[in-house]
Amino acid sequence: MIIKCPYCGPRDVIEFIYQGDATRKRPEPASTDQAAWNAYVYDRTNTGGSHREFWLHGGGCRQHLVVTRDMSSHAISSVALARDVAASINDGGRA
C-alpha cells in the first residue's frame, strides 16, 4: 500500500503507524456523558467500503494524516493532514 503524504509524497505503508478510526468524535473534555465516552473509547463500526482513519507518518514528517480508504479494496481516495481536517471540523462546529 502506498500513502501519498501531503508533505513527503507517495511513501510505502511501512513508514506509517496506524492510529485508528478518524470518524469518531471525542466528547467535550468536561462531558460526563458516560455513554458518549464509552462509545468514543470502545465502539467501532466494521465498515465495508470507504472509511476514514488516522495514520502517523512516523518514518517521515511525523504528521498525522486522515486517510480515506476503501476497506475492501484498500484503494485510497484521499489523504489530508489531520490538523487541517480537525481544524475545519472545529470551525464548522463553531459556525
Binding site: 473534555p29 473509547v41 504528521q63 472545529n90
Partner: protein
C-alpha cells in the same frame, strides 16, 4: 517413454557439454538444458514419487506449472528442496536428488500405499486420527502418535538444517509500466509503452524472451518467431527507458500496484562472481501493470493419467522444439481442441514420430486433418484414452469410442503402443496475479476457461492471459494495451487456421474403473476424491479445496484447478461458473525464505548506547538490554555475584552517595503558548500552576482510564517544559502527544521535539549527594534554599553548562544532572572525582531497582496496561479541578471494584528470595492449580531492611496488609512464606529525600 536427443533443433548450445548428477549418477547435457530436458534426453522416465501413494511419476509439464518433477538441489550440505526440474537450468557440477522415496526412486517401500488406496482418500487423516472424546487416543492423541510416521511417508523434499551460505539482495524499483511476461504480447505491449517514453520494466520468468514463440511453428514477418522475439527483446533492452529482467518470477500482486519478484541472478552458474547474490528480491511499484502472463495448458482427467510418459501436449512440443529432445520414440496425442494439432505439426517438423491423435470430438477441421495426415498420424476422432499400461515408463494406452455430447465411453477397448502421450484439455489463462490483485474471474464459455477479473487497480491483461489465443489477435491487443497512443506497425503472422475453443470435456469416466484418475498430481487428489467430498457434503469450492487439498500444493493447482472445478460442477449438476473458483494467493511460484530475508539476518535491532557507555564497560559494568538501550546491570567486582554487587551498590547509596546513568529516560521538549494547557490535559495532575524553575511528578492515563506512563516534567520557562518519560515508553508517549495535538486539539499552539538523545543524565543520590555537587558545581548554589526538593538550577561543571533538578527515585537526597550529550562522560567523571572523598559508588539497574522497590515507587512492571491510578495508590494525583485524558472513564464500576489487584509490599518470612512473577496463594504447600490472588511484579534483597522483599499486585491489597501468604513459583520451584505490608517499605515519611 524413452526420450532421446534429436539430431537437430532447439535453442540449446550443442557445442557446450554440461555434466551433472541426479540421484548420485552422472549425466551429460547441453548448455541451455533444464534438468528435465537433459534427463529426458538421457532416457530417464522416473522423476519422483507421488505425495501420498508414492506412485512413480515422470515429468508432466515444461515450465512453472510442473506438478511432479520436483527435486532437491544440494550444494555441499545445503539443501534446496522442491525445485521444479522443468525450470532448473543445469550447470557443471549440479547435484540433484529425487524426493519422497525410500530407499531409492526405483525401489520405494511406500509404494505399498497404493494398495491401500481407498484408505488414503479425501478426509482420511481427519476420519482416522481425530479420536473419540475419551480413552487413551482421545481427541488428537492418536494423531500425535502417528504424525511422525506419516510425515515421513507423505510429503515433499526435506528442508535442510545447514545455514544458507548464499547472499541475497533486495531491490526497490519504480516504473511507469511493468510488463509481466515477454511472449508475443509482453514484447509488443512493452514496445508500445516504451515508445511513448514511459519507464518500463519487463519481467520474464524464463532465461530468454519469447514465451510461446519459442516453440511456435508459425512465421513472423517470414521469419522464425524465436529469432524475431530475441531481436525484439534485445532492441527493447537497449532502450534507456527499459529495464529487461530475465529469470525473474513476479510472485505477488499487492495493493497500490506493488508487485514482488524474485530474480535468479546466479542459481544457474557453477561459479559465482565474488559478491554476486544468488537471488535478488524486487519490490516493484508500478504506475500501471500489464499482465502478459500467457496461459497454461491443462490436462484431461482419465484413468491411469499419472504414469510417467503422460505429459501435456505443449510440453512434448516444447521439449522437441526448444531443447531438441524427443520425449518418446512413438508419441500419441490426446485432445479436445485444435492446439494439439499445432503441437503435432511442430513435433513432426522436429522429427518426432507421431503414432496417433486421439480426439474426443466427432469431427475436426480440414486444417487439423491435413496436419494429421502430413504427420503420418492415425486420427481417432470420437475416441478417448481410457487407460494406460506402464511400469516405470508408459508402454501403451487403451482407447475407446467416446461421445463428447453425453460423456459416455463405449465399444471394445483398443490398445495402442506408445511411450509418450501428450494431453491437451484446453488452455487456462494465467490469471494468478490478476486474481491476487482482487476481483472475481469470469468464465468464458468459448474457451471453457476463467478470464481475468475486471481490474480494480491500474492493470490490464493482454495476450493469452486475456483470452486471445491466436498470435494475430494477441499482437494487436498487446499494442493497444501497451499504449493507446501507440502507432506500432505490427508484424505479419503466418499461422495455420486453428481454433483454440475446446470441446467441454474434462474427464473420461469409463463405467468400469480399473485405474485411478488424478486431478491434482502433486497432492494425489483423484476425481473420485472430489466425488467423495461431494457425497460427504463438501460442496462449495472453498470446502472442496480444504477437504481434498485440491490445488493446495506448491503448484497451486496450475494444471488441476479447472478440471477439479468441472468435476465438482458436474456432480452438483451446475455450471462451472456457478460452482465458482477460489482466489489465488501469493506466491505464484514458491519463494525461498533466504531471498525474502535478503540482507536482514542476524541481529537487526539498532543498539542504543548512552554517552557514558564506554566508561561503564571500562569500569566493569555488566550490561543488559532495556528495550533497545544497553544499560549497566551492575558494576561487578572480582568474585562477586550479581546479588552481592547490587547489595553493595544500593547500600552505598543509602549510606553515602551513588551515581547512576539516567540518560535513557525519554525527554520531550514542549514549547508554545499553550504548553501548560496541553500538560493539564494529558497529565492527571495540574501543571499550569507549576512555577518556572520547578519540576513535578506527573501521571498520564490512557483514554480508557488505565495508567499509561509517569515521569517528571520541568518548567524551564513560562512557555517551555521538559517532559521526562520512562525509558520504555519514550516513543509511545511522543506518539500519544502528537496524536492529540494533530487530531484532537489542533488549536493548541504547542510544538514537540524529542530530545532524548540530546541530553546526558547522571543521577547522584545519597546523604552526601549535596556535598558532591558542592564540590564541583559552579555558577549556582545547591543548598536547600536555592535548590529545594523539585527545584531546578543551571550551573556549570568544569565549565560545561549543566542543569540540575533535585528529584529522587531512590528515596534519598538526590539530584539529576543533565548536560549536552557530547559532554556526558566528562561531567560523569567530574562528579565521580568530586565524590571520591565520599566513596561515591556507580550503580546499575539492579541497585536502582532495589532502591525503588524499598520505596514502593512504580515502574512499567506495575504500570502494566491493566492497573489504574487507584490500584497503584496514585489516586492523590487525580485532579478534581479539571478534565484530563482518561478522567471520564476512571470512575467506571469495573475500575473501582474492590476485588481489583492493588499494590502492596511483601516481606519474605523465611529469608528466601522471592521471584518475579510468583503467584500469591494461601496454600502452605505448593500445589497445582493454586488459587492465585495476586502476583509479584518486582523482587530483590533489601540491604536497608535486611530482608528479601517484593512489590506485588494483590486482590483487596490494602485490607490484606498484615496478613501472611505464600509466593509460589512453580516454574522455578519456589514457595516462600511472605507477609503482606504497605508498599512503602522504607522511610515511608520520605524524610531522607527532603533532608
Amino acid at each position: 517413454m524413452t526420450g532421446s536427443r534429436l539430431s537437430r533443433g532447439g535453442r540449446i548450445d550443442r557445442s557446450k557439454s554440461v555434466r551433472f548428477s541426479f540421484d548420485g549418477k552422472a549425466y551429460g547435457g547441453h548448455q541451455g538444458d533444464t534438468l528435465a530436458s537433459a534427463l529426458l534426453a538421457n532416457g530417464i522416465t522416473l522423476f519422483g514419487r507421488s505425495f501420498k501413494y508414492h506412485r512413480p511419476r515422470g515429468v508432466f509439464a515444461a515450465g512453472s506449472d510442473e506438478p511432479n518433477a520436483l527435486v532437491t538441489v544440494m550444494s555441499g550440505d545445503v539443501r534446496e528442496p522442491n525445485m521444479r526440474a522443468t525450470e532448473l537450468e543445469i550447470y557443471d557440477g549440479l547435484v540433484a536428488l529425487s524426493q519422497n522415496r525410500f530407499p531409492s526412486l526405483e525401489h520405494d517401500f511406500m509404494a505399498a500405499n497404493q494398495l491401500a488406496g481407498p484408505l488414503f482418500s479425501a478426509g482420511f487423516y481427519y476420519k482416522t486420527f481425530m479420536g473419540p472424546a475419551i480413552g487413551p487416543f482421545k481427541n488428537t492423541a492418536f494423531w500425535m502418535f502417528c504424525e511422525k510416521f506419516i510425515r515421513r511417508a507423505a510429503g515433499l523434499g526435506k528442508a535442510g538444517t545447514a545455514p544458507d551460505p548464499d547472499r541475497y539482495e533486495r531491490m526497490n524499483a519504480f516504473c511507469d509500466v511493468l510488463v509481466v511476461g515477454s511472449g508475443p504480447a509482453g514484447l509488443i505491449a512493452a514496445e508500445a509503452a516504451a515508445t511513448t517514453g514511459a519507464r518500463v520494466i519487463i519481467a520474464e520468468e524464463r532465461p530468454i524472451a519469447g514465451g510461446s514463440l519459442l516453440a511456435s511453428g508459425e512465421l513472423i514477418d517470414g521469419r522464425n518467431p524465436a529469432v524475431w522475439a530475441r531481436e525484439k527483446a534485445a532492441g527493447l533492452a537497449d532502450l534507456p527507458n527499459v529495464r529487461f529482467l530475465t529469470r525473474t518470477s513476479v510472485w505477488g500482486y499487492y495493493d497500490g500496484n506493488v508487485l514482488t519478484a524474485v530474480e535468479r541472478v546466479s542459481d544457474f552458474k557453477p561459479n559465482r562472481t565474488k559478491g554476486q547474490p544468488r537471488q535478488r528480491h524486487w519490490i516493484i511499484r508500478a504506475g500501471k501493470t500489464i499482465l502478459a502472463t500467457g496461459a497454461f495448458e491443462r490436462p484431461i482427467v482419465f484413468p491411469g493419467n499419472d504414469c510417467p510418459g503422460v505429459m501435456l501436449a505443449d510440453a512434448v512440443r516444447r521439449y522437441a522444439t526448444e531443447y531438441g529432445v524427443a520425449a518418446g520414440n512413438n508419441v500419441t496425442l490426446f485432445t479436445n481442441n485444435d492446439s494439439a494439432y499445432d503441437a503435432a505439426r511442430a513435433l513432426s517438423l522436429a522429427g518426432v514420430n507421431i503414432a496417433a491423435i486421439v480426439d474426443v470430438r466427432a469431427d475436426v477441421s480440414g486444417a487439423c486433418r491435413d496436419i494429421a495426415s502430413v504427420a503420418g498420424a492415425e486420427l481417432l476422432l470420437g475416441h478417448a484414452v481410457t487407460g494406460t499400461h506402464a511400469g516405470k515408463a508408459l508402454s501403451s494406452i487403451t482407447v475407446q469410442h467416446f461421445n463428447a455430447g453425453t460423456g459416455r465411453v463405449s465399444g471394445a477397448p483398443r490398445e495402442i503402443r506408445t511411450d509418450c502421450l501428450g494431453v491437451s484439455g484446453g488452455w487456462s489463462p494465467a490469471i494468478h496475479l490478476a486474481s491476487q490483485a482482487g476481483g472475481k474471474p469470469e468464465w468464458d464459455e468459448d474457451l471453457q476457461a476463467f478470464l481475468p477479473p475486471e481490474p480494480n487497480q491500474n492493470w490490464v491483461t493482454t495476450g493469452s492471459a486475456a483470452g486471445y489465443m491466436d498470435t494475430i489477435s494477441v499482437l494487436s491487443d498487446a499494442a493497444t494495451k501497451g499504449s493507446a497512443k501507440s502507432r506500432l506497425v505490427l508484424p505479419q503472422v503466418e499461422a495455420p487456421m486453428l481454433d483454440a475453443s475446446p470441446a467441454p470435456v474434462f474427464e473420461i469416466e469409463p463405467s468400469v474403473k480399473s485405474q485411478k484418475a488424478f486431478v491434482d498430481f502433486q497432492h494425489d487428489v483423484t476425481a473420485d476424491d472430489i466425488r467423495l467430498a461431494y457425497r460427504e457434503g463438501f460442496h462449495s469450492v472453498e470446502h472442496l479445496k480444504r477437504y481434498t487439498t485440491l490445488g493446495m500444493a506448491t503448484d497451486q493447482g496450475k494444471t488441476s484447478n479447472v478440471p477439479g472445478l468441472a468435476i465438482m460442477a458436474d456432480v452438483r449438476g451446475i455450471s462451472i461458473p456457478e460452482a465458482g473458483t477460489t482466489r489465488f494467493r501469493p506466491p505464484f511460484t514458491p519463494v525461498s525464505l533466504g531471498v525474502l530475508a535478503g540482507e536482514r539476518y542476524g541481529d537487526l535491532r539498532p543498539h542504543r548506547l548512552t554517552p557514558m557507555h564506554d566508561w561503564h564497560l571500562a569500569n566493569g559494568a555488566k550490561t543488559y538490554e532495556a528495550g533497545l538501550w544497553h544499560r549497566p546491570m551492575i558494576y561487578g567486582s572480582h568474585g562477586e555475584t550479581v546479588e552481592q554487587a547490587y547489595i553493595r551498590e544500593a547500600r552505598a547509596v543509602r549510606q553515602s552517595v551513588g551515581i547512576v546513568d539516567v540518560s535513557t529516560l525519554g525527554k520531550i521538549d514542549i514549547q508554545g503558548p499553550d504548553a501548560a494547557e496541553l500538560l493539564d490535559r494529558v497529565y492527571t495532575n495540574m501543571f499550569s500552576t507549576l512555577p518556572v524553575g520547578k519540576a513535578r511528578y506527573g501521571l498520564m492515563l490512557r483514554e480508557d482510564g488505565i495508567a499509561f506512563d509517569d515521569g517528571t516534567t520541568w518548567r524551564l520557562g513560562e512557555t517551555q517544559f521538559l517532559m521526562t518519560t520512562t525509558t520504555a515508553n519514550a516513543g509511545t508517549v511522543m506518539q500519544h502527544l502528537e496524536y492529540y495535538l494533530d487530531c484532537i486539539w489542533p488549536d493548541l499552539r504547542v510544538h514537540l521535539t524529542s530530545v532524548t538523545d540530546v541530553w546526558a543524565g547522571s543521577a547522584v543520590s545519597g546523604p552526601n549527594a549535596r556535598a558532591v555537587l558542592e564540590a564541583c558545581v559552579t555558577g549556582t548554589k545547591v543548598d536547600n534554599m536555592t535548590l529545594p526538593f523539585m527545584g531546578i538550577v543551571h550551573g556549570k561543571i568544569e565549565g560545561i553548562p549543566i542543569m540540575i533538578c533535585r528529584l529522587s527515585f531512590s528515596g534519598e537526597l538526590a539530584y539529576e544532572v543533565y548536560c549536552g550529550a557530547g559532554f556526558g562522560t566528562r561531567v560523569w567523571e567530574a562528579l565521580l572525582a568530586a565524590g571520591k572523598p565520599f566513596d561515591i559508588m556507580p550503580y546499575g539497574l539492579e541497585a536502582l531497582g532495589t532502591l525503588r522497590i524499598e520505596k514502593g515507587h512504580v515502574t512499567g512492571a506495575e504500570i502494566d496496561g491493566r492497573t489504574t491510578a487507584h490500584d497503584l495508590h496514585l489516586d492523590w494525583m487525580l485532579s478534581k479541578k479539571k478534565p484530563y485524558i482518561g478522567s471520564a472513564m476512571i470512575n467506571r464500576e469495573g475500575l473501582k471494584d474492590e476485588n481489583r489487584l492493588t499494590l502492596v509490599g511483601l516481606i519474605s518470612m523465611d529469608n528466601q528470595s522471592i521471584t518475579g512473577g510468583s503467584h500469591i496463594v494461601t496454600d502452605p504447600v505448593p500445589r497445582e492449580p493454586a488459587d492465585s490472588f495476586g502476583h509479584v511484579t518486582a523482587a530483590c534483597y533489601s540491604p536497608a531492611l535486611g530482608k528479601y522483599i517484593a512489590l506485588a499486585l494483590v486482590k483487596h491489597g490494602t485490607s490484606m496488609i498484615g496478613n501472611r501468604a505464600f509466593a509460589t513459583d512453580l516454574l522455578r520451584d519456589k514457595h516462600c512464606a511472605v507477609e503482606i505490608v504497605s508498599h512503602h517499605m522504607f522511610d515511608p515519611e520520605g524524610s531522607r529525600m527532603h533532608g
